[in-house]
């Protein structure tokens, strides 16, 4: 069967089971958009290619399947660079297809030419420039394989226009052959035995659980392990929900804005069992002072993470789910012979009781306390609600105050910290999980970066709900200027009224609601929950002064955690 390169591409995507792609056409990718008309694949037309990338990320995180975006060459390819970098940092499987100028004109500064594979080399797991239409099925197959196996991540296929226009004889490769790509998935048995011994005899162990466990779909295995060992467990920003917050052993988020018990348990631990986490500086604070007494068992699919920041006494390369299962099998027979860690649990419990997250609940308002808004949205929705956040104070409060009971319910930009992530990512999440309510907790600054994708949401009938915590500031930066720059506020004021978020929402076909007084919060949320045929935007007027606590100041040791305003 003879196909054009473009037809072969679309057929290959169908073969990979792709149901949805996010994109926006243009010159170099035009041939690909024609066979798309005849395909079963749903295309969602975004308003900016950054939106396509983040939507694909949101889709991937909500479904566990790879997200796919198709854009044209040059400016479109550069517009999708941010989502690629974001997905690379947070290990999100993404397949991005970019158009490219004809092979005969590559290198001539042709119209809308950019060195896409060169630009994206360091922010993709791998990329391909296809120069022969016959390579298309093979490359697509390889691309999905690389994106979804090992440590997941984004890949990019650059497809010149003449290649998509030329013809090829259709085939579908039975298998992938990449001699240089063979991720280790099975952990080393000797190391796992060693790890089990250390776990059973530790006095102050902590599970330090990262996003890798979410990517490995390891929630069940983790839970079994925690139930067996009764070891206190922290879930990083990327891992929120992978162990239910209601689980008695769950301490919640560690790090710069983590709670006291999570931060301090790691500081005082004699053993850290690191599961799919990477010692991010936002977790460790000053590395030299991080968990100074702890031995480390580090389990990760990416060998380069082991020993990168912190030496591991027991490094184990492997799929974290598989290793957790093997570890469970090693530990189960030792049940009853574990060292008694109840004093340790008691100590941690006392920290939890003494230093919970707190804010001034008695404050009557207006303005609204942002934490209260989040708590109300939480309480008026069930645990199957997907929460997507932007980057800033609102993100930290969302992670702190939401109660996460399941994995893949919390979608945010952790590693890159990309403002503007939330609205498009929520669109992707809702497309992937139409059965779930999707709430965005966004900042006013973030919202302004990608809000136009709400036009996409309205047009495509993707009814997401957006709560803007409108504090009229680039709040997180304002907080740093207040605390570390003697309240010299430099370029952080945004204004609460400009833009008028309600009118803006309405202009984009959404329902717009403004909430100024605390008494209006519940009604607004309930109204938003009742609207299922279009997006809703609520402009919550929140307290400009409110800061995120606890806080470990940048570059400081986690021991120097600041609990609240009065400690400053």
């Amino acid at each position: 069967m003879k196909l054009t390169g473009a037809q072969a591409l679309i057929k290959s995507l169908e073969m990979q089971g792709v149901e949805v792609v996010f994109g926006l056409p243009g010159g170099a990718i035009l041939p690909v958009y024609d066979p798309l008309l005849d395909s079963s694949i749903r295309h969602i037309l975004v308003r900016h290619e950054q939106g396509a990338g983040h939507a694909a990320e949101g889709y991937a995180q909500a479904t566990g399947k790879p997200g796919v975006a198709i854009v044209t060459s040059g400016p479109a390819a550069t517009n999708i660079v941010t989502p690629l970098a974001d997905a690379y940092m947070d290990s999100i499987p993404l397949v991005v297809i970019t158009g490219q100028v004809a092979t005969s004109t590559i290198g001539t500064d042709a119209f809308q030419e950019a060195d896409t594979t060169g630009i994206t080399m360091s922010i993709t797991k791998h990329n391909w420039l296809i120069t022969d239409a016959n390579d298309i099925p093979r490359v697509v197959r390889e691309a999905f394989h690389v994106a979804t196996t090992g440590r997941p991540g984004p890949v990019l296929i650059d497809l010149p226009k003449n290649v998509s226009n030329s013809t090829m004889e259709w085939y579908w490769p039975r298998q992938v052959s990449l001699p240089g790509y063979k991720p280790t998935t099975k952990g080393h048995p000797k190391m796992i035995k060693e790890a089990a011994k250390m776990i059973a005899s530790a006095e102050k162990p902590v599970f330090y659980v990262g996003g890798g466990v979410v990517r490995a779909k390891g929630a069940e295995s983790l839970r079994r392990l925690v139930d067996l060992t009764q070891i206190p467990t922290v879930t990083t920003l990327m891992a929120r929900g992978v162990l239910p917050d209601s689980h008695p052993m769950c301490l919640g988020m560690p790090g710069m804005h983590g709670n006291y018990a999570a931060v301090t348990s790691m500081q005082k631990a004699d053993l850290l069992i690191v599961l799919g986490a990477r010692f991010d500086d936002r977790v460790t604070g000053k590395v030299d002072a991080f968990a100074p007494n702890a031995k480390v068992i580090h389990i990760d699919i990416d060998p380069a993470e082991l020993g990168k920041i912190r030496h591991a006494e027991v490094p184990i390369v492997g799929d974290v789910k598989s290793v957790m299962d093997d570890l469970f099998a090693e530990l189960e027979p030792l049940q009853g012979h574990f060292r008694d860690i109840s004093p340790w649990r008691k100590e941690i419990k006392s920290w939890q009781d003494t230093y919970p997250y707190s804010y001034d609940r008695a404050h009557e308002g207006p303005p609204l306390k942002p934490q209260m808004v989040i708590e109300r949205i939480r309480d008026l929705n069930d645990e199957d609600t997907i929460v997507v956040s932007g980057v800033g104070q609102h993100q930290m409060w969302a992670s702190q105050y939401w109660q996460f009971e399941k994995p893949n319910m919390w979608i945010n930009s952790g590693g890159l910290g990309t403002m503007g992530f939330a609205v498009p990512a929520a669109i992707g999440a809702k497309v992937g999980r139409p059965d779930r309510t999707v709430w965005v907790i966004d900042g006013d600054g973030c919202f302004q970066m990608t809000a136009q994708e709400l036009v996409t949401a309205t047009t495509e009938r993707i009814p997401i709900k957006v709560a803007i915590l409108n504090n009229a500031y680039l709040g997180m930066v304002r907080q740093w200027q207040e605390m570390f720059y003697e309240e010299r506020y430099s370029e952080v004021y945004l204004s609460p009224d400009l833009p008028d978020y309600v009118k803006w929402a309405e202009a984009m076909g959404c329902v717009g609601i403004r909430v100024v007084h605390p008494s209006e919060i519940d009604a607004a949320i309930e109204k938003a929950n009742s609207i299922t045929d279009r997006p809703v935007v609520i402009d919550f007027r929140t307290d400009t002064q409110e800061k995120v606590f606890p806080m470990v100041p940048a570059g400081k040791s986690n021991d120097e955690i600041v609990l609240g305003e009065d400690e400053l």
Partner: protein, 193 residues
């Protein structure tokens, strides 16, 4: 000519061959495809590692190329470098070659002033290093020497005396020495310390 009294100051001689304690040789087998060298080179700069020298050519099997990289390991732990390199999809195998256990060779081409007075001396020097005269001009010679990097450093320090017009070195290629009872060629593939 860089000359102060009788003391010869070789051009960059002191930094030409890295200190044996700081450098490592990585022999990286890669797929022979477009852009692979760019990926390897970019990885080094992206992760803040310094490449001291680099030589690349296809192997006897055309599907593969071998990149011989001399790394300045003070810029990053070698283990991180090799692990990050392994993450490149086109990288097949990485061997760390211990400089003490390796045969290392490098090629040097130099154009030297050689008038009637010095020509014989230059030729003698080249002969001493088992090199060859590859091009002859009226007042200049172009010479070629293939030797170990440190021998080339010596040669360079001497030849500079006669007035160097141009000099180019290739960067070393290396293979493990043969016939050792214990082959100390560290296999780094997919393994952790």
């Amino acid at each position: 000519m860089n000359q102060e009294g009788n003391q010869v100051v070789p051009i960059g001689g002191a930094i030409r061959t890295p200190n044996e304690f700081r450098h490592h040789i990585l022999s990286v087998l890669v797929e022979n495809k477009t852009g692979v060298l760019a990926r390897v080179a970019q990885l080094f700069s992206r992760r803040g590692y310094n490449i001291f020298s680099l030589a690349v050519a296809p192997t006897d099997d055309e599907r593969f190329s071998r990149i011989t990289v001399v790394v300045d390991v003070e810029t990053a732990p070698l283990e991180q470098i090799t692990k990050q390199l392994h993450k490149l999809v086109n990288v097949i195998k990485i061997s760390e070659i211990d400089p003490d256990e390796a045969v290392e060779y490098e090629l040097l081409l130099a154009t030297v002033s050689a008038d009637a007075a010095t020509r014989a001396q230059v030729i003698e020097l080249v002969n001493l290093f088992e090199g060859r005269i590859v091009d002859v001009g009226l007042t200049k010679l172009t010479v070629m020497v293939a030797a170990s990097p440190s021998q080339l450093d010596d040669f360079e320090a001497l030849i500079v005396e006669y007035g160097l017009v141009e000099l180019q070195r290739t960067g070393r290629v290396a293979l493990q020495k043969l016939g050792k009872p214990v082959v100390k060629r560290k296999q780094l593939k997919g393994r952790v310390s």
